[in-house]
């Protein structure tokens, strides 16, 4: 429980955990939340984890927490920390998480709800049978050893080169769908074995594919630039680097655990194991982590193409006619080197985003030409019964949170509590009564992922918006969901 942790109110959206709270904290914690959500946040250990992250050598300004914060491993989910490699800054696998480059992509379509609604159940059924999802499901893309090594070096570019999508998709993907410096030799044989049959698979747990409808335009000018209007159908895909990334995290935690003594680093939680960015252990993790990030981008690229194929076949319409274009793809579990101005000096920092989304402001050189004026599209999924959002990044985020905002609703209820609260079949029926068709491999999965298990994404996004970390563009609601 985080009940006793002192929180100093800075304003209605900002709370500080003072550096004096715990001996060893190098910077204060800064938590973005409103008064209403604090009692819930205090029920788990996430605020303690914000304080623990402040122990990391080389951490800059604050250990940050977004309003969807909840209890994670080492880092809280919703945690952000930037370290300065030139000041002994570290890289921590726990600051990225097991599902390296778990992320979301959003596609627009030319379809309206009226086009989809009469045959919605068949459409969701077609997606469910085509998109591999759930425990132990293999994908249809078979990779040899040489191919998987090439794929993790190139990311989405590999997928495009092999007929999965087009070059335009790459400019609409964070980092172009590929992190430089990925070294296939830094990856263990076990990781290759776990990832070998998983390209083009959705996974399980909170991963999903949703057919959605734009239900509110929140900034008409920006929505128009993204080609979105009320009633329009969108598709959202949430997945990551699958077993490949999980294994890399496991391997790296083992290596960095042993590096703590070597580099005389003290952290209050072994899941915060880390190594200096410039150390051999740090470099090894970064080289492997980038391979996993690239796997995840290639995975979401392939999932998107499988989705488009289902739509084309189902509606018997051409790709151009359907207008299924990628709006953007964002990572929400990643560490990257990015440039920021700190106390008037330009620095390249190692930014860990663990359950947090990059939200770069208009004009940033990392954004493609079409988003230079709008700012980076930020995709925030909610739960399967409420809403999801498209936002854009702001200058405020650049100055305060290393260009970062929240990543989703955040869990409010444990899986066991969610199971006790409802059976999968009744949740499925309730959602159907509200016009949402859900298909999943296991009924328990539906109960565990029920809307009541999550915080209300609308409140989370309101905090982010009021704090100025991102600007709302449109709100979507789900009408069809497939889950593992």
């Amino acid at each position: 429980m985080s009940g006793q942790i002192p929180l100093i109110k800075l304003d209605d959206q900002r709370w500080e955990i003072p550096v004096s709270y715990k001996k060893g904290m190098r910077v204060p914690g800064l938590v973005f939340a409103d008064e209403k959500s604090l009692p819930k946040i205090r029920t788990d250990q996430s605020l303690e984890q914000v304080a623990n992250v402040a122990f990391l050598p080389g951490i800059v300004k604050h250990s940050l927490a977004m309003p969807d914060i909840h209890w994670g491993y080492g880092f809280p989910i919703g945690g952000v920390a930037a370290t300065d490699p030139e000041q002994g800054g570290v890289i921590s696998p726990g600051g990225v998480g097991y599902d390296i480059n778990c992320g979301v992509r959003l596609l627009r379509t030319n379809l309206t709800e009226a086009d989809v609604r009469p045959r919605l159940r068949e459409l969701v059924g077609a997606l469910f049978s085509k998109i591999p999802c759930g425990v132990g499901q293999s994908g249809e893309i078979n990779l040899g050893k040489k191919e998987i090594r090439q794929m993790v070096r190139e990311g989405s570019g590999w997928a495009v080169r092999h007929g999965y999508g087009s070059a335009e998709d790459l400019s609409c993907t964070e980092a172009g769908g590929c992190l430089d410096g990925a070294d296939p030799d830094a990856v263990s044989e076990r990781a290759y074995q776990r990832g070998m049959d998983q390209l083009g698979t959705l996974g399980s747990g909170n991963h999903f594919l949703e057919v959605q409808v734009v239900d509110q335009i929140l900034d008409a000018a920006l929505a128009s630039k993204f080609g979105l209007e009320t009633g329009q159908v969108t598709v959202m895909i949430h997945s990551g680097s699958r077993g490949f990334g999980y294994q890399i995290c496991e391997d790296s935690l083992d290596a960095t655990r042993h590096a703590l003594t070597k580099y005389k680093i003290t952290v209050p939680d072994i899941q915060l194991a880390c190594a200096p960015v410039h150390s051999p252990e740090g470099k090894q993790y970064l080289a492997a982590m980038r391979c996993a990030a690239n796997f995840a981008w290639a995975n979401r690229q392939c999932l998107m193409v499988l989705t488009k194929q289902v739509f084309e076949h189902f509606f018997q319409r051409s790709p151009t006619d359907l207008g299924m274009d990628l709006i953007y793809d964002v990572a929400h579990n990643i560490a990257k080197f990015e440039q920021f101005t700190i106390n008037g000096k330009t620095k390249v920092l190692c930014v860990h985003r663990k359950g947090a989304t990059r939200a770069f402001a208009p004009g940033n050189s990392e954004l493609p030409e079409q988003y230079q004026d709008t700012g980076q599209p930020v995709i925030i999924p909610g739960d399967m019964g409420r809403n999801s959002y498209l936002l854009v990044g702001t200058q405020q985020a650049m100055e305060e949170t290393f260009g970062t905002c929240c990543h989703g609703a955040g869990r409010a209820m444990s899986r066991t509590a969610a199971l006790k609260a409802a059976h999968g079949s009744s949740i499925r029926k309730e959602l159907e009564a509200r016009g949402i068709i859900v298909m999943a491999r296991g009924e328990k999965g539906i109960a565990e992922e029920q809307p009541a298990a999550y915080k209300d994404v609308n409140q989370v996004v309101d905090v982010v918006s009021r704090a100025g970390l991102a600007k709302k563009v449109v709100r979507m609601r789900p009408i069809g969901v497939i889950k593992g």
Partner: protein, 142 residues
């Protein structure tokens, strides 16, 4: 129940109490496979043929050994879709495990899917021995 699940906001914990190390390791494995699928149903269906899996590893202490055990179970399930049905510990000490297991192949089309376990975490992980025997707690990332 030789094991029980406990709550973590996004994931699931497993608590195992056992009178000796063999039971601790086997119960943990059964708990693990029951999180992934319906192990009892697979056992009752008496699938054949079973395949044999051998494990042989050493670690510095019982916690490291137990962690390695769970990591190996996750690995064989992820890569070979193996679900253990019979266990024969040839040697099991706090630092050494030698095992021959008989395993069935998990078939997602035929068997119940519960959770895809991403990883075995170190978060609040511990294995302790007291007068009653052994107690282990571990949280799995789902």
């Amino acid at each position: 129940m030789p094991y029980e699940t406990f709550e973590h906001t996004a994931d699931i914990g497993l608590r195992i109490r056992a009178k000796d190390l063999n039971r601790l390791f086997q119960d943990a494995a059964e708990g693990f496979f029951n999180l992934v699928t319906d192990l009892d149903a697979i056992q009752k269906s008496r699938p054949s043929p079973l395949h044999e899996i051998e494990m042989n590893f050493q670690e510095e202490n019982v916690e490291e050994l137990f962690m390695r055990w769970l990591q190996e179970l996750l690995f064989v399930f992820s890569t070979r879709k193996s679900v253990f049905l019979e266990y024969r510990f040839i040697s099991l000490t706090p630092m050494l495990l030698k095992l021959k297991a008989k395993a069935a192949r998990f078939d997602p089309k035929q068997h119940v899917s519960r959770h895809e376990i991403k990883a075995v975490t170190f978060h609040q992980f511990h294995v302790v021995q007291d007068l009653a025997g052994w107690l282990a707690e571990v949280i799995f990332d789902i």
